[in-house]
Amino acid sequence: MRAPVTEPAPSPDQAASMELARAVGRSARRRLGRSLSIREVDAGSCNGCELEIHGLNNAYYDIERFGLRFVASPRHADVLLVTGPVTKNMRQALERTYSATPSPKWVVAVGDCALNGGCFATSYAVIGGVGEVLPVDLYVPGCPPEPSVILRGLLALLEKS
């Protein structure tokens, strides 16, 4: 138990994520030097999306090896990763988080709820998708999207921007 033993991922996703790893590495470097800082904001999620975003940090996905890293403050972030249908009670906090993020900045909306409010869309308490409140650069659909899909999304963002 001296050192963490990062097992090779047994799932068939491994080849894909290695390929992603190389691609993210290249474009992240091109765009932002060596790193991309991500601030996660739950704007009303059921917390399922958070579980999978957390997964990005585990040894299987190890997001930091790509130079992608989660930061504690929007003031340190390049990307806001937003989940959930935006609830009316969270709107102001989300807007404030966005304005606290320095430009250039990107918004990635993670999950079906963040796309259009998902199954909560018609509620009195919900505004809808993240796009109703912030300019969204990329949507990562899924309920919740798997970590490899979120990673793929971050790559797509890098290619696009």
Binding site: G44, C46, G48, L51, I53, N89, A125, P144
Partner: protein, 505 residues
């Protein structure tokens, strides 16, 4: 021993539509009697929720286990406050007022709870009133004394977690008061339930708190099956239990690691994170979804487990079983971890009991309640397992309960692998026979989840109430933090790991 609910039930008018536990309509006098029993501690509050012009209260007699719902019809939109006598009811009453507009008469806390003034409507499920003017500012409770300062935290927190606001009042490093303000992720789930068809309602119930999606789906299914008087095939109940235990394992491993991470011990976080990922991958390849969302439906389950899948679960079990002891040893023998965990954030057993705290929070503070044991819903009536209990009530005890529960879940899954019966995995739900109500309680990883449903004559879902265990746990976190240093709050909080979404609904 007789149940202290017997007397209360005798006083009320029985509603035949409800299954499996009785519901009676009571007069204010009996309602107040029930509140007095909660204060005495002879019964435990399981839930308090509203309906059109009525309020329901679910009660538990622990020994022997007996559950009942009492209902009071509101006159002029009022009912006698329970929270005035029994603090565990206060937030429920504030929520009832926000959503239904029913007033708890005599309540000592008149502040809104879930309604932050942004909905443009008041009492969305009661007599709706359009509001255009902004809400008045929220008043936090005061703490008075020399050298006190306040630290506001949230709703957006530093980590990848759900939003909520914590208002600390501290004297130097020491917290003298924590006040929570929740409701930020209120999605109006109960309003979306009204008139929803079963598939959509099950989908919503499964998304009340994503980390407990399996437990919620089972609880919702149980409630519907009780209302429809439906018997589910044996294989379905065993597969449900398999998914429930996988969910418990995944969450307990996640928490075990995350708590250690909050004490800056990332090695265990990494190790536990890998095991959690292994569990989710086995879930994904066998049930088609990493969190097993939407795999449990009223009437049974939607995905069967193949022979090959069974083998995969078996090898997962072997892997987890072989890895756990070294992680536990590492936890127990790391002085810096012990220094942070032991005697931090103590929840007194008396308070845990008063609030009916469930899950690892209750069980780390001497309260042994576990719905799997208390109600013995299938297949737990045929499974052998222990309910670990400790009395220390500190962060360390909450970690140990999780460790012991991991061991128990592994033992349960082992039994499921050998005893899994063959046969169909679902029955068709059909149409209900007239107006009906169902109530169910299921043990999620965090504690007991209560679900109550009501269908009208035509089989339309008219009301669904989902009560997360966090309702009774969040207020206790306020008590636990008092006297600890601010820097230990993340540890206390993580060791509780209450759900925001499950609570905010």
């Amino acid at each position: 021993m007789s149940s202290s609910l017997t007397g209360i039930l005798r006083e009320g008018n029985r509603i035949d539509a409800q299954r499996p536990w009785q519901r009676v309509i009571v007069k204010p006098k009996t309602w107040n009697q029930a509140a007095a029993q909660l204060v005495e501690g002879t019964t435990i509050l399981l839930g308090l929720w509203a309906d059109t012009d009525a309020v329901h209260m679910a009660l538990l007699n622990e020994e022997p286990v007996d559950i009942a719902v009492i209902t009071i019809e509101c006159v002029d939109g009022r009912f006698p406050s329970v929270g005035r006598h029994h603090p565990a009811a206060i937030r429920f009453e504030r929520a009832i007022r926000d959503i239904y507009g029913l007033e708890a008469e005599g309540s000592l806390d008149q502040r809104p709870w879930l309604d932050h003034g942004h909905w443009r409507v008041k009492q969305p499920l009661g007599k709706r009133v359009e509001v255009l003017s902004p809400a008045p500012p929220y008043h936090f409770l005061q703490a008075e004394g020399e050298s006190l300062h306040q630290i506001p935290v949230g709703p957006v927190h530093a980590g990848i977690i759900e939003p909520g606001h914590f208002r600390f009042t501290a004297n130097g490093e020491t917290v003298v008061r924590l006040e929570q303000r929740l409701g930020f992720v209120h999605k109006g789930i109960e309003s979306l339930m009204v008139g929803a068809d079963l598939a959509r309602a099950a989908q919503l119930a499964s998304r009340t708190s994503g980390d407990s999606t399996v437990a919620y789906a089972i609880a919702f299914a149980h409630a519907v099956e009780a209302a429809f008087d439906l018997k589910v095939p044996a294989r379905a109940t065993w597969l449900r239990a398999l998914m429930a235990e996988l969910e418990r394992l995944a969450n307990h491993f996640g928490d075990f690691g995350a708590i250690c991470n909050d004490a800056s011990f990332s090695l265990l976080h990494v190790q536990c994170g890998m095991l959690r990922e292994r569990i989710l991958r086995v879930a994904s390849s066998n049930f088609g979804h990493r969190l097993m969302m939407d795999r449990i439906i009223p009437g049974g389950v939607s995905t069967d487990l193949s022979r090959d899948g069974l083998m995969q679960v078996k090898s997962l079990l072997a892997e987890l079983t072989s890895r756990l002891p070294r992680l536990v040893e590492l936890y127990d023998n790391t002085a810096s971890l012990q220094d942070r965990m032991v005697t931090t954030g103590i929840l007194q057993p008396e308070l845990a009991r008063k609030f009916g705290a469930g899950g690892y929070i209750g069980r780390a503070s001497g309260r042994s309640f576990d719905a799997r044991r208390a109600i013995r819903y299938a297949p737990y009536d045929e499974l052998r397992f222990d309910i670990p209990v400790l009395n220390e009530g500190d962060v360390n005890a909450r970690v140990w309960i999780r460790i012991r529960e991991i061991e128990q879940s592994l033992a349960i899954i082992d039994q499921i692998i050998t005893m899994l019966p063959h046969g169909p995995i679902a029955v068709s739900v059909g149409a209900p026979k007239g107006a009906s109500e169902g109530i169910a309680m299921v043990e999620g990883f965090r504690g007991d989840i209560l679900v109550w449903v009501r269908f009208d004559n035509s089989g339309r879902l008219t009301r669904c109430h989902l009560r997360d265990p966090s309702w009774f746990q969040w207020p206790l976190l306020e008590a636990v933090v008092e006297g600890n240093i601010v820097a230990d709050f993340p540890l206390c909080n993580k060791s509780f790991n209450c759900s925001y979404s499950g609570h905010d609904l």
